[in-house]
């Protein structure tokens, strides 16, 4: 069963991710901030990380850059969640080594499609 770590401080979105991903058979772990997210990534070694760029302690870019430096999870796909304009989001995911982005407000069909696609991609 794929494990998905959701690093998201905004409760409404975190609940939505939990509901949608659980209903599709994924095991979901929730982290409300970046520090907790880094700890949980090391502990649970997820198959996919959903990462909000706006977090209350360390921001999403910094979390992504740290994940890419943790050998046990360095190649795990990261799906960024952001309200940023498309051009900025694309630039950020490219330079921070993330694998895709999901625009806010969340479209469930898009969420499912991206998660399925990233979980089907073998780690690089």
């Amino acid at each position: 069963m794929p494990k998905v770590l959701v690093i998201e401080d905004y409760e409404d979105n975190a609940t939505l991710f939990e509901r949608v991903l659980s209903s599709r058979g994924h095991t979901v772990f929730q982290a409300p901030d970046g520090e907790t997210g880094l700890q949980m990534a090391a502990e649970h070694k997820p198959d996919l990380i959903l990462l909000d760029l706006g977090l209350p302690d360390i921001d999403g870019q910094t979390v992504a850059s740290q994940i890419r430096r943790m050998p046990e999870v360095a190649s795990v796909p990261i799906l960024v969640v952001t309200a940023w304009p498309e051009e900025t989001a694309r630039k950020m995911i490219e330079v921070y080594g993330c694998n895709g982005y999901l625009r806010k407000p969340i479209e469930i069909a898009r969420l499912i499609a991206l998660v399925d696609s990233l979980l089907a991609t073998p780690p690089s």
Binding site: G54, P56, I58, A64, S65, A83, T88, K91
Partner: protein
């Protein structure tokens, strides 16, 4: 976004932010930003740091209350001869009913009661409602600012000159020679108030030189103040960044509020920095103080 009806007709009361806990201020701040393009949420530790580093005067900052519910926040930073409007936000369902204007008016009146006529602020580019509000209140554009990011990694070009790594006290001394009035976040007082400040001075083979004061924490470097003492700023900037990223290649970097016409900016792009978002800096009144202190 469509205009929403006010949640209630009850009167709105503005109370000093000092009457609220840090936890309450953090909650209302985050709630007002939840639908922003760049929400920049904070936890309590970051809110405490923000208040301390930016000299936020909580007695003269306000929380708007309606039916005992927090619906808006506006903060005032106060330094000698100047004040700064920051963290201004209204809950999404309570916008477009004049509350932003009322918060701003109260903050400006609070500054004036302290004898301060000159105020500064930054607004995120394309936040048109806020920008129009500030124009209406007499603010004028004074500069365009960028927030830049660079992920960890070695520099694109390696150092060519000599570097001296400086302690906090040595680094803060470098700020004394600054001129001009930078954005509030980058003023000398902000650097002095911040933790984990260090310095770097470089001399290039051709004799040109410069220095960089910055904050270096567990995951991130930030709070850059870059100065060229002699030579071409782009070349000096390149050497400073090459030295820094060669030594601290494992740290993420965030540059807050660098002017788009800063002569060091090309060096940042050459070293792999990318634009995160842009702000407009605005002033109201005339600055009596013309240095960065």
């Amino acid at each position: 976004m469509a205009s929403l009806p006010p949640t209630t007709d009850s009167p709105i009361e503005l109370r000093p932010a000092s009457a609220f806990s840090v936890k309450q201020l953090t909650i209302i701040y985050n709630q007002t930003r939840v639908d922003y393009l760049v929400p920049m949420p904070m936890n309590m530790a970051r809110m405490i740091e923000y208040i301390q580093v930016y000299d936020i005067d909580l007695e003269n900052s306000f929380v708007a209350m309606q039916d005992e519910k927090m619906i808006a926040l506006g903060m005032l930073g106060v330094r000698e001869g100047r004040a700064w409007i920051t963290r201004l936000g209204v809950l999404p369902g309570d916008r477009r009913h004049g509350l932003g204007l009322r918060m701003m008016t109260s903050l400006l009146e609070a500054a004036e009661r302290k004898g301060i006529q000159f105020t500064m602020l930054e607004v995120i580019k394309n936040n048109t409602p806020a920008y129009k509000l500030f124009l209406k209140l007499g603010y004028r554009d004074v500069g365009n600012l960028l927030v830049l990011r660079r992920p960890p990694g070695p520099p694109r070009s390696y150092p060519a000159g000599k570097a001296a790594w400086l302690s906090r006290n040595e680094a803060l001394t470098l700020l004394d020679s600054r001129s001009g009035l930078p954005p509030w976040t980058n003023q000398n007082a902000s650097q002095r108030n911040a933790a984990d400040i260090y310095g770097l001075a470089v001399t290039l083979p051709d004799g040109s030189s410069g220095c960089l004061v910055h904050q270096r924490q567990r995951f991130v470097m930030s709070r850059f103040v870059m100065q060229t003492l002699s030579g071409d700023p782009a070349a000096v900037g390149r050497e400073l960044l090459a030295q820094l990223h060669n030594r601290f290649f494992d740290l993420d970097t965030q540059i807050e509020n660098i002017y788009t016409d800063d002569p060091h900016l090309p060096a940042f792009y050459e070293m792999g920095y990318v634009e995160s978002f842009a702000r407009i800096e605005m002033h109201r009144g005339d600055a009596a103080l013309k240095d960065a202190s």
